[in-house]
Amino acid sequence: MVAFGFGVYFGLASFKSKAAQRAGSKPVTKARTLVPVPGVVFMAQGGALYRLENGQFSEIKPGPGDWTQPTSVPQGGLIAVSRQLHFSDLYLLDGSGHPVRQLTKNQTNTVETNHWAFYPNLSPDGKTLFYSYDPKDLSNTFRVDLAVWSMPLQGTQAQGRRRTTPSPYTGGDVQPLPLSSGAVIYTKYGIDDAGHSQSQIWLQAHAGAIGQALTEPADDCSAPALSRDGTRLAMVCTNGRQTSSLQVAPFDGQRLGPREVLVEGQLAAMPAWAPDGLSLLYTAPGGSNGRFQLWLVQAPRSTASPSPQAAVSPSGNPTPMAARQARLVTNDLDLDATSAPLWMAPAGS
């Protein structure tokens, strides 16, 4: 009878759902991919970077702090963010993930005078580093907005220049994507008349130029990613909802064409193009633990051209592409969804 009582107790416990259990992802290095991914992919999880090649994960933990948002360096190596409690800095890493140089120094002794640096991205020639940085507003100490900044990769942070002027008290301008023309695409946050926060993809033709919107505010698009040939822009749009769609639009260097929906109904985040431009990786919840995993989806070939009349990408009802089946790449990771995967061709290719 006593055993029966224990049986009832443990029987009830067996009805516990996974939702209420503390999630415990197994080490990334033990993980396996469900579908092969050619080339090399870097991603972030739990404060470390991971390199995925030939189905094997290896950890890169260059030093103290939480490492995230890796980006490639044309000359070889990576640039990544090291985030600590009150500040974050950008580091140049070698091909093995060892720190070569600290690119920014944002730590100070007073809490509120520290700075953030996020979303590093190099210009295609590898000479200029773009990133998001929070300049201080001495007249409004409560204001903290990120702006797009640039600095010479071989220079110092003192040579950094602000490229964009964020709308005040909105969160600012993030995710810079420099083009070979000297233009920069980025995500700009704003607040509409009804008090809703919205994000738009913007383009600034050159330093000092007034930016222009490439998407409508209500589309709530962010996370721009340009294909290697520069003709297609991937992005994530939410339309103010709590689900996102992964969309792709043709791009001619100045304007976007009609957007095409590749994936809908997920919390899709941070797309990254395959080196050959045939597919995209992104992160979204899934797998056995329901956490953010890598997903793979085939990319559309560029067919439509940007409209010469429209500065802003036609919005409203982007073409749905229900036939494109996204495939789960990893099953039991817990990826940092604010860090885009970095997808590179294999060495020597």
Binding site: M1, K18, A20, E112, F118, Y169, G195, S199, Q242, A268
Partner: protein
């Protein structure tokens, strides 16, 4: 034979009570009345053998006042302000939920006498006073309340495995309170919750809903973020089974108080499964419903009741 059967029944009941003991204990501590854990089938399930998702069809609509407080060391535990007040109307028959955020700086006549910011009502007289103040000013009837402290929210979210949501914008704050498990409750820290789809643990979800310094909309922006997290929690709650309740209840450690009975909670849990985001209506009292003003040397929010009351009346029945 009968003795043996009785013995098994007692042993089984003891096992069940032992399993649900944390819930019973939490129910007594947090609501002042014991919980009903009877396994009587939900009448709607009996009447609906086909498993129609119109669950809770026999449940009446009800209104809950959600209260969230900064209850760190800066404050007397018995006199904390409410940083967050959200009126929630739940209509089980149609699986509809309406959330109306009440600005914490709203200047109103307080139920206990005099006028003040509405966040002081809870500090002056607990949930009873907060409910009475809301009922008097908004002309609504409040059926239930839930109060949660800072650590309670962190524990709830962590116990549910975190929340997945799309944060609406980068939330950056150079003067965010560093008052949880901190030796100096007046200390500050810098936070940066980046924008976009992501998974947040309890600590970072709290940062997202609590920060207000660098938001053009001030407390209104924070209210919108709070509603986003509540909706994200709905998705998590839809995966919680009654067998999870002991773990969840044990997590609060006095950081949650509610008038809701366990049968009511059981009624709400399945609703989360059938609730779509589209069926959640969100309301924030931005202008023209309110305007900024001064009372003495205090910055306050002034109510435009001729606009607010018709809005409230659309959803919330009169008291």
């Amino acid at each position: 034979m009968a003795v043996i059967v009785l013995g098994f029944l007692i042993a089984g009941a003891a096992g069940g009570v032992a399993y649900f003991f944390p819930v019973l204990r939490a129910a007594v501590i947090q609501t002042g009345h014991s919980g009903d854990l009877s396994t009587t089938p939900n009448p709607s399930a009996v009447n609906n053998p086909a498993g129609n998702p119109a669950l809770g069809s026999t449940g009446s609509p009800f209104t809950v006042l959600l209260l969230g407080s900064d209850d760190d060391e800066k404050f007397d535990k018995n006199h904390v302000l409410t940083q967050s007040m959200i009126l929630v109307r739940i209509v089980p028959q149609s699986n509809q939920v309406t959330m109306l955020s009440i600005p914490r700086d709203l200047w109103v006549p307080l139920a206990g006498g005099g006028s003040g910011k509405i966040d002081a009502a809870y500090s002056n007289g607990g949930a009873k006073m907060a409910i009475a103040t809301v009922q008097r000013n908004f002309k609504v009837h409040v059926d239930e309340y839930v109060w949660i402290g800072l650590k309670g929210l962190i524990r709830l979210i962590d116990r549910l495995g975190g929340v997945d949501l799309i944060t609406s914008n980068p939330v950056l704050d150079d003067f965010y309170p560093n008052d949880i498990d901190s030796p100096d409750p007046y200390a500050t820290q810098r936070i940066a919750v980046l924008a976009g789809p992501q998974h947040l643990d309890g600590t970072h979800a709290l940062q997202y809903v609590r920060s207000r310094h660098s938001d053009l909309r001030g407390d209104f922006g924070r209210s919108q973020r709070q509603q986003q997290v509540l909706i994200a929690l709905r998705a998590k709650a839809s995966r919680v089974s009654p067998a999870d309740l002991p773990d969840v209840a044990a997590a609060f450690q006095g950081e949650l108080q509610t008038s809701m009975s366990l049968p009511r909670i059981r009624q709400v849990l399945p609703l989360a499964t059938h609730l779509t985001i589209e069926s959640v209506k969100q309301q924030v009292l931005l202008p023209p419903y309110t305007s900024g003003g001064k009372v003495g040397d205090q910055d306050v929010i002034l109510a435009n009741w001729s606009e607010i009351l018709p809005l409230v009346r659309q959803t919330f029945p009169a008291s």
